[in-house]
């Protein structure tokens, strides 16, 4: 499925058989979905504008719908969404960066949050705005992480005062995110055609 070349001709001719395995998708035309990204499950998937899904990123709408906000990046090997057997929707707000190997099962992840490499957010958790999970950190099921929190050093948490008080730092982070999306747009070839039925 993933190896299929996304030529337009192909899409038109075989469109009836293609989305059979894929979930019902609403994908913004400005989003970039790599050819080898996976969208699985049967619940609806909404991908907003300027989203970048890297190759081998996985949107798993098996236990509920998945909504990905504008300017989000989901990296290689990262998984967003609940697996089969668990019920619940997953919402990523704007400017969420899910790094490679991370797994997001959270109910909601606030804007500007960075989920570090191989970090885990278990089901039912909520993560606030402009949070940062450093690599391999874990947020347990049902936990709540307040706005501007940094989760680091094996579960220690700290409210990042700098970002609370300074609009500029927040803007800088948003700007960085948008620039990163711009750069990735040139680097990641788009293959979203096959997901649009």
């Amino acid at each position: 499925m993933a190896a299929r070349p996304p030529t337009t001709k192909r899409t038109t001719t075989t469109s009836t058989s293609l989305p059979a395995a894929g979930p019902p998708c609403t994908i913004d035309p400005t989003a970039v979905i790599a050819d080898k990204a996976q969208l699985t499950g049967s619940h609806p998937v909404t991908i907003a504008e300027h989203v970048v899904l890297h190759p081998y990123a996985r949107i798993r709408a098996e236990g509920g719908s998945v909504t990905i906000g504008p300017y989000c990046i989901v990296s290689e090997g990262a998984v967003v969404g609940l697996p089969e057997g668990q019920q619940g929707d997953v919402v990523l707000e704007r400017w969420v960066n899910v790094e490679s190997g991370a797994e997001v099962l959270a109910k909601q992840v606030g804007e500007g949050t960075e989920v570090g490499i191989q970090a885990r957010i278990w089901e039912g958790a909520t993560v606030g705005r402009f949070c940062r999970l450093t690599p391999t950190e874990v947020v347990g099921a049902g936990e709540e992480v307040g706005d501007f929190t940094v989760v680091f050093g094996d579960g220690r948490r700290r409210v990042d005062k700098t970002i609370v008080e300074s609009e500029e730092v927040r803007n800088a982070r948003v700007k960085g995110m948008e620039k990163q999306v711009e750069a990735l747009r040139k680097l990641v070839p788009d293959g979203k055609a096959k997901w649009i039925s």
Binding site: T134, R158, T162, E165
Partner: protein
């Protein structure tokens, strides 16, 4: 022993009962005369036995050196972050920390980076931060996002961070000069700052030392200061009558610091308010906001910090490069290159390259020989080899020569192993030669041809036909080398493991046996002490064909064979 069987441990002579061996020639200590047989079951043995790769070698003394018989010497100090080499004279004055731009995060201890930010116009900054231009710089932790803005500090330049940080800290913690009414309070507040308190105390005591004059000389440290030394010298020079008289006066006894002006911080009832305040703060902010002990001890600036927002970045602590010297002859055995960026060694004499290595394997292995490091599955987990008592077993003992000369080896071992369980050990060929080590390429190219079979003459062929063994199969023979390659030689070791139960107890009942046998830990481990003596000649001054100097080296090894079945 933690090492998997079969292992070889080498005994360092430094902890033998005869003390450190000073004699230059190892031949002077005959194993049977000067030294007693090494007993691996002796409780002291554990302190002198090491695997080969833990040992060093001193080529002046021709002796093995273990970590206990070398002295560490600091070659230089450097900052691990900027790799700047700090001269030893400056190390102390800089408190063993980097005085450049290297800082660690007080929150998570990872290194901080200098980051540029655009100018901010919020009211957070205090006037007098010395900000000029449109640029401002921060120290920023890339791991936990801590920045110096958390403590309200920004820098105007990306360099000389230490200077700017000290300035900011001084501006923060120095209170106005005590000209107002509550001067006392100001002073006591100042004393909370360790630096201030220390400065005041040191000023006071220096004054005291000066006042008491010569009595200070009785202190060992008094000679350290040039001023004192000058005064002592002037004592012996011409002195005026008055000065002489004064010097003979009974000196005033030294006084301790008594007041706040002198740097003594005492508890006063007004401190209680402060304590209450701290307690209140702790209650409202909770555990997460309270600084941990580790954080508070990260740098002297944080010693008094109670809360996380009072923590200042900690300057990176310096690292050292160390050399190792032989304790006996003070020669460098290991000396790293002083350049902080390089990981190479100038001198590195390790035992691995200087003494023959012994390794043991069974002659007829039961299963495939496996290295426990490579075992993947738990069902193939390493099991100690079990030896059947009172049945002869043969092992191949291989000695590999790391030096570039042909070495003559003599092996010696007690006929029965020391310890409670006596096993009989026979080395079929105790003296032989090992060829020189050489280029790895030579070895690889010639290994297929250089294996010399021991005298494969008509006699052995006749023996083979008589005993009915295949022609390729060798028989261990007394006085014969088993196998020889270019720089290694193997001989056969015959072992009859002793019984855990004394043989005399056959007629006794089981419970009686238990009474007589005192089981000690690891008594069932069969360890064979072997004394190795290596002799070779070296060319003096490194010239070929010149004068030859004989060299000898003797050391005890312990071969761990396995556990004896009960």
């Amino acid at each position: 022993m933690a090492a998997p069987f079969p292992y070889t441990h080498y005994a360092c002579p430094c902890s033998s009962s005869s003390g450190p061996v000073i004699s230059k020639r190892a031949s002077q200590l005959e194993p049977d005369e000067d030294q007693e047989t090494f007993n691996p079951h002796d409780p002291r043995a554990a302190y002198s036995l090491y695997p080969l790769d833990h040992l060093l070698f001193c080529d002046e003394c021709s002796q093995i050196r273990c970590p206990k018989c070398v002295n560490d010497e600091i070659i230089n100090w450097f900052c691990p972050s900027c790799l700047f080499e700090v001269p030893s004279s400056a190390v102390r004055s800089e408190n063993n920390r980097c005085s450049r731009n290297c800082y660690n995060c007080p929150s998570c201890s990872s290194p901080l980076h200098v980051t540029q930010v655009e100018k901010q116009d919020d009211g957070m900054l205090k006037p007098g931060d010395g900000r000029t231009g449109d640029e401002a710089y921060l120290l920023f932790c890339q791991y936990c996002d801590w920045t110096t803005l958390d403590i309200g500090v920004q820098f105007s330049r990306p360099t000389k961070i230490t200077e700017q940080l000290n300035k900011a800290r001084k501006a923060r913690y120095t209170v106005q000069q005590p000209d107002s009414e509550d001067a006392d309070k100001t002073v006591s507040k100042q004393l909370r700052n360790h630096d201030d308190a220390f400065d005041r105390l040191s000023v006071f005591y220096t004054e005291q030392m000066d006042e008491t004059g010569e009595s200070g000389n009785s202190w060992g440290s008094a000679y350290g200061s040039p001023a004192n030394l000058a005064r002592i010298m002037s004592l012996y020079g011409g002195l005026t009558h008055g000065a002489l008289k004064k010097s003979r006066e009974k000196p005033q006894p030294m006084r301790e610091a008594a007041g706040e002006e002198e740097g003594l911080a005492t508890y006063s009832p007004s401190d209680q308010d402060m304590d209450e305040e701290t307690l209140q703060k702790m209650q409202t902010r909770g555990w997460d906001e309270t600084a941990s002990e580790e954080q508070a001890l990260s740098t002297p600036a944080n010693y008094g910090a109670r809360f996380k927002d009072e923590l200042w970045p900690a300057a990176t602590t310096l690292r050292t490069k160390r050399g190792k010297r032989c304790r006996t002859c003070r020669q460098f055995i290991i000396r790293p290159e002083p350049k902080s960026g390089s990981a190479r060694y100038r001198i590195r004499i390790i035992a691995h390259n200087n003494i023959p290595r012994l390794s043991l394997r069974p002659l007829h292995p039961i299963g495939p020989v496996q290295n426990p490091s490579f075992v993947m599955k738990s069902d193939h987990a390493y099991k100690d080899p079990i030896l059947q008592p009172l049945s002869a077993q043969q092992f191949v003992l291989t000695l590999r020569n790391p030096i570039f000369e042909t070495v003559k080896i003599s092996l010696a071992t007690p006929a029965t192993t020391p310890g409670r369980v006596a096993s009989r050990v026979t080395i079929l060929c105790p003296s032989f030669e090992i060829g020189p080590a050489g280029d790895v390429w030579d070895e690889a190219l010639s290994s297929s041809t250089s294996t010399i079979r021991p005298s494969d003459g008509g006699r052995s062929a006749a023996m083979a036909s008589l005993t009915g063994t295949a022609e390729g199969e060798k028989q261990p023979e007394a006085g014969k080398i088993w196998e020889k390659t270019r720089n290694s030689t193997s001989v056969i070791l015959e072992i009859v493991p002793g019984s855990l139960r004394p043989t005399s107890s056959i007629g006794l009942r089981d419970d009686e046996v238990k009474e007589t046998v005192e089981e000690a830990e690891d008594d069932d481990v069969l360890e064979i002490p072997i004394y190795v003596r290596a002799e070779w000649t070296v060319d003096v001054h490194g010239e070929k064909g010149g004068e030859k100097e004989p060299k000898e080296l003797g050391y005890w090894c312990v071969l761990g064979v396995g556990r004896i079945a009960a």
